[in-house]
Symmetry: C2
Subunit: 317 residues, 2 copies
């Protein structure tokens, strides 16, 4: 008896089976290629069919299925909006998966919801009823646990923290992605670095080794490690924004834990003490003493663990 968790990303899909205690039994990662629309849907359903039949042969009955999707899951409709999968504006994933899953219950939720559920189940938010996962990758999203339940909002789009307003005045660059995301996401760090590179004609550091439009957040972190002046300015600015965002979660939610994950944390994990110092300046002074700010305990596995937890919770009793 096992549950199946699926972490559907923009470029690959991870399928893993877990015992009820959260022990990972098996894992299988499939690239999605450049799939679009129904192709990706087929890859998911075929992946599940294959997994179910091989599990059956191995004598591992699957009790329930949980799926983490890279975007918004519309609970009432059972459909998915995933900005990085072309054609998935309102994709009927639940219906398609149910067609191959038969009687096995299927639960779907957004990646940010799954990250915090994964950490709650088997990561650094164990035992916390009130906790937040801040995922900083290309964009920024937050999975928020309130009293043990995922904060969903009236239409499933709560946690859109990349849109947080953290600095005046409003700039046209915020229109497409939000203020916080512009300044402190992976893509944002690269954008801010490019702005500084364009403005500083005398700069001769390592970020000038490639055309500035090719500079990524990885390059900025590598240059920061070497003491590069522009990288230092960019990362120090990002630390302020991360600290302000975390302070706002602390003041609004009074959580026990804030977990930092996503591709940027990664290299930014080393900066957590500095980010925490920044958050302390801004946050409600009692609430900030009641929270622990930590790196993800599951790293890139947070999504698949969260999907496994979704499955476990929907398992027939």
């Amino acid at each position: 008896m096992a549950v199946l968790g699926i972490d559907l990303g923009g470029t690959k899909m991870a399928l893993a089976t877990f015992t009820d205690d959260g022990e990972k039994i098996s894992v299988n990662v499939k690239p999605l290629g450049n799939g679009q629309g129904k192709e990706v849907g087929m890859m998911v359903t075929t992946g599940i069919e294959t997994f179910l039949s091989s599990s059956l042969q191995e004598g591992n009955m699957i009790d329930s299925i949980g799926i983490s999707i890279p975007g918004i899951y519309r609970h009432k409709r059972g459909t998915v909006w995933a900005p990085n999968i072309p054609g998935w504006d309102d994709y009927p994933l639940l219906e398609e998966v149910k067609a191959v899953a038969g009687d096995i219950p299927v639960t779907i939720d957004s990646d940010r919801a799954c990250y915090i559920l994964g950490e709650y189940w088997k990561g650094n938010a164990r035992g916390c009823q009130d906790a937040i996962f801040m995922a900083v990758g290309t964009g920024i999203g937050a999975g928020i646990l309130v009293d043990g339940r995922v904060l969903r909002g009236s239409n499933d789009i709560a946690g859109a923290t990349g849109w947080m307003a953290l600095d005046r005045p409003f700039r046209k660059e915020y229109v497409s992605c939000g203020c916080y995301e512009h300044h402190a996401s992976g893509e944002g760090i690269a954008k801010v670095a490019r702005e500084y590179l364009a403005a500083d004609k005398s700069y001769s550091g390592m970020l000038g080794n490639k055309p500035s439009e090719m500079v990524t957040s990885h390059d900025v972190f590598a240059a920061f490690k070497q003491g590069d002046t522009i990288a230092k300015k960019v990362i120090e600015e990002a630390i302020v924004f991360w600290g302000m965002a975390i302070a706002n979660y602390v003041s609004l939610f009074n959580p026990q834990k804030i977990i930092l994950g996503g591709g940027v944390f990664g290299p930014a994990v080393k900066l957590i003490p500095h980010i925490t110092e920044e958050a302390k300046k801004w946050a409600q002074p009692i609430s900030i003493t009641q929270v622990s700010i930590e790196a993800s305990g599951l790293g890139t596995d947070a999504g698949v663990y969260g999907a496994g937890y979704l499955a476990l919770k929907s398992k027939p009793q």
Copy 2:
């Protein structure tokens, strides 16, 4: 049969009885004078005893009691922290009220929780499972309803929205009250006006009619109405901060309604269309189309209605 709601403020206490349908049967307002510590506790318990015995004489049995307090209610301990009542750092209000209430159930919660519960019961948040009351008075707090339940946080201090970080760089003025409260609370509006008055030696408008340390937010709103230049600058800045704060609630919580109340809304109610325009710039673009931003439907009665609703919910079935 009726429930008793009590709104304990910093300077007065309102007691009201309601039918189960939320019809107000009677109301009674008592000044607290300059009471401190146990004196205020006595006024509350005496008020309840008097009310209970007169209700009994009138044949109106009280089934349950709800109390809104001006601060933080510590649920696990039954104690109150109220910054405007000297000696109420950890005041054992539940124990004292229970001693006079006998078998009648007593429920206590923070004023901000009661505001949103009042609006949910009988005001402008009726029918909303996800709604936020932003109370802008001397300070700023938020009562937040998530999935029909008040957001409490791990230690009852969620909703401390006055501490929201909304503008870089950090300033020493934020240390005592938080960035948002410094710029946009009633006291904040007065402080910002005083800063501008001190900086503008050539100013000859109506805000100069009294010593600048006496200028209040009421004066600023009155001057704004007359087209005063400094008042205009202060209020326009406050509109930006209110819009940014509301945008952040929208992006994080995806609520159906945001209700604006407290003493400042009040005169700022007329500004809601401008504040909404500002919020639209910053917020998650889909979520902002799903929210309605409105003035309180209950005004200064929001707290006592919320207390009544607390009572109703704890009534023996």
